[in-house]
C-alpha cells in the first residue's frame, strides 16, 4: 500500500489552499525543530494524528507514524552511542557505553524527526500533486517546467513500481528464487532487474515527453492554468495559528 498517494476527500484539511497546506506543513515542522522538550515533541505528534483523525485520515497518520518511528529508531541508536555528555548510565568494565545525555538527546532527536516529517508526509494525502504544482505556478510563480517535472516524477513512481513487480514476476517464473532470506543474495538477484526496468523507463519517459510536446507544452505560460486557487478566511486562520505555534515553540519550549 502506497503511503504517499492522495486520499480523495472533502474535509477541512482537503479544502485548504494547496499553498496553505504546504506552508502549514513546513511551519509545523519548524515548530517541532525549535522545540526542545521530549514531552512537547510527543504532544506535537499526538496533535498531528488527532487533527488527521478529525479529517478522516486517522489510519493513514498512524501508519505513517509507525513507519517514521522505524526511521526514528535508527536515529535513536546512532545518537545514543554518539553523544557522550552527562553521567554514565551503562558501562562495560571501564568503558562507558551509554550516558544520560546520550539517552535524552537520542530520544529528543528521534521524536523530533518523526514530528517534523509527519506533517510533510501527510501533505500528500490531502493534496493532489497537480493542484499543488498549479497553485505554486500561479501564486508562488514557480516556473511551470519545474512544476511539471515534479508532478511527472510523482506520477511515474507507481508506474515504475508496477513495472518492477511485473519484471520480478517474470524472473520468478524463470526460477529465480526471490524468496531467499539472505539479504546479500537478494540484492544480487534484484540487480539484473534494473536493466529491463531502465529500458522500459526510458521508453516511457520519452513517449511522455513527446505526448506533452504534441499538446503544446512549450506554449504554456503562468496564466495558462484554468483552475483558480483563491485564499479564504480559513487559510488566513491556519497561517495565523501556525505562526503563533512557531513563535510559542521558539520562545517557550
Amino acid at each position: 500500500m502506497n503511503l504517499l498517494n492522495y486520499v480523495p476527500g472533502n474535509s477541512f484539511l482537503h479544502r485548504l489552499n494547496p499553498i496553505t497546506k504546504l506552508a502549514a506543513a513546513f511551519l509545523y515542522g519548524i515548530a517541532c525543530i525549535l522545540c526542545d522538550s521530549i514531552w512537547m515533541e510527543l504532544a506535537f505528534i499526538v496533535l498531528m494524528i488527532a487533527i488527521c483523525a478529525a479529517a478522516g485520515l486517522g489510519t493513514r497518520a498512524l501508519r505513517l507514524t509507525r513507519n517514521l518511528l522505524i526511521l526514528g529508531l535508527f536515529m535513536f541508536v546512532l545518537q545514543l552511542f554518539f553523544v557522550r555528555t552527562g553521567e554514565a548510565l551503562v558501562t562495560i568494565g571501564h568503558f562507558v557505553l551509554i550516558t544520560t545525555g546520550g539517552l535524552t538527546s537520542a530520544l529528543l532527536l528521534s521524536l523530533r524527526v518523526v514530528a517534523t516529517m509527519l506533517p510533510l508526509m501527510l501533505l500528500f494525502a490531502i493534496t493532489p500533486m497537480n493542484d499543488l504544482c498549479n497553485a505554486l505556478v500561479k501564486k508562488a510563480h514557480l516556473p511551470y517546467r519545474y512544476a511539471f517535472i515534479i508532478t511527472t516524477a510523482f506520477r511515474f513512481v507507481p508506474l515504475f513500481s508496477t513495472e518492477f513487480h511485473e519484471i520480478q514476476d517474470a524472473q520468478k517464473a524463470r526460477g529465480v528464487d526471490f524468496e531467499t532470506k539472505n539479504i546479500l543474495r537478494k540484492m544480487q538477484l534484484v540487480a539484473p532487474l534494473c536493466v529491463p526496468l531502465l529500458v522500459s523507463s526510458l521508453e516511457k519517459v520519452n513517449s511522455s515527453a513527446i505526448s506533452a510536446e504534441m499538446r503544446g507544452f512549450h506554449l504554456r505560460s503562468r496564466q495558462s492554468g484554468y483552475k483558480e486557487y483563491p485564499f479564504t478566511g480559513s487559510d488566513l486562520l491556519v497561517f495565523v495559528l501556525l505562526l503563533a505555534l512557531v513563535a510559542f515553540s521558539a520562545v517557550f519550549l
Binding site: E166, I167, A170, Q171, K172, A173, R174, V176, D177, V195
Partner: protein, 274 residues
Amino acid sequence: MIRFEHVSFGYPHGETTIEDLSFHIKKGDFIALIGANGAGKSTVSRLCNGLLRPLSGHIYLDGQDTLTTPTSLLARKVGFLFQNPDRQICENTVEAEIAFSMKVQGWPDDEIRKRVATALETFDLKGDWFPFNRSRGERQRIALAGVLACEPQLLILDEPTTGLDYLECIHIMDHIRMLNEEKNITVLMVSHDMELVQDYAKRVLVLRDGKLLGDGPVKEIMKQEALLRQARVLPAQIPSLALAFGDRFAEVFTIREMHEAILSEKKGDPGRKL
C-alpha cells in the same frame, strides 16, 4: 498435469476475484483460456506457477501442492511466456539470455551449451545479438527460446502474440503446436484472438468474473454464441457465419470446410448446377 480444487483468490485492493474455481488439465492437452479483460485469465495463469497462491482451495501441479512448493521449484516444471518479452530479457547477449533460466535452475554447463546451440538454430537467432534493439517479434522468440530450453512440462502463454504480426505469430504458434503434438507438452494459452484459439487450441475454458462459464472442446465452445457473448468475447468469423445457417453447416469450422460445404450443396442440387 494440473488440477484446481475449489480455488478462490482476491487481490488486497479487491480487483479480480477467482471464486471457487475447479478444473483439471490432463497431460498433453492444449487449452485456451478466454474471457474479457478483468475476467481473471491472467490471475489463473499466475496461479498455475505459484506467482500467485490461492487464498482458499488447492492447486496441484503434477501432484505437488503449489501452496507448499516454492515458485522457484515450480518454475522447473512450468514455462511461462509473458505478453511483453521486455520484462523477461535482462542479459546482454541472446546466448546468455537463453542460458539464464537453465543456470538459475542449476543445469550442468555442457548441457546448457548444447541446448543454447539447439535453441539458436530452432528459433533462427544469433548468439551474440544484443537483445534490446531487436524487433518485438525477435524479442518474443528470444524469450520463448529461453523458456523452452528448460523443457517445461507445462507451458503457459499469456497473450503471446500481442504486438506480433501474422507471420511472427504463426512462426511461434506452429512451433508450440509441434512441441505439444510431438513432445506431449501441455499448453495453457490466454488469448483474445478467437481465430488463434480456433486454429490451435483443443479445449477451451471460458471465464467471466472469476468463474468458469464454459469448458469444452474448441469446436463446441466456438459454436455457443450465447456463451461467448455472455463472456464478452467476439466469436471467430467462420463458426459465427456457419451458425447463421442453423444446422445446415453444423459440421463447418474452418474456411476450407465452409468452402467445401458450399460446393457440395451446389453440386447436390441438380437445379443449381455449377
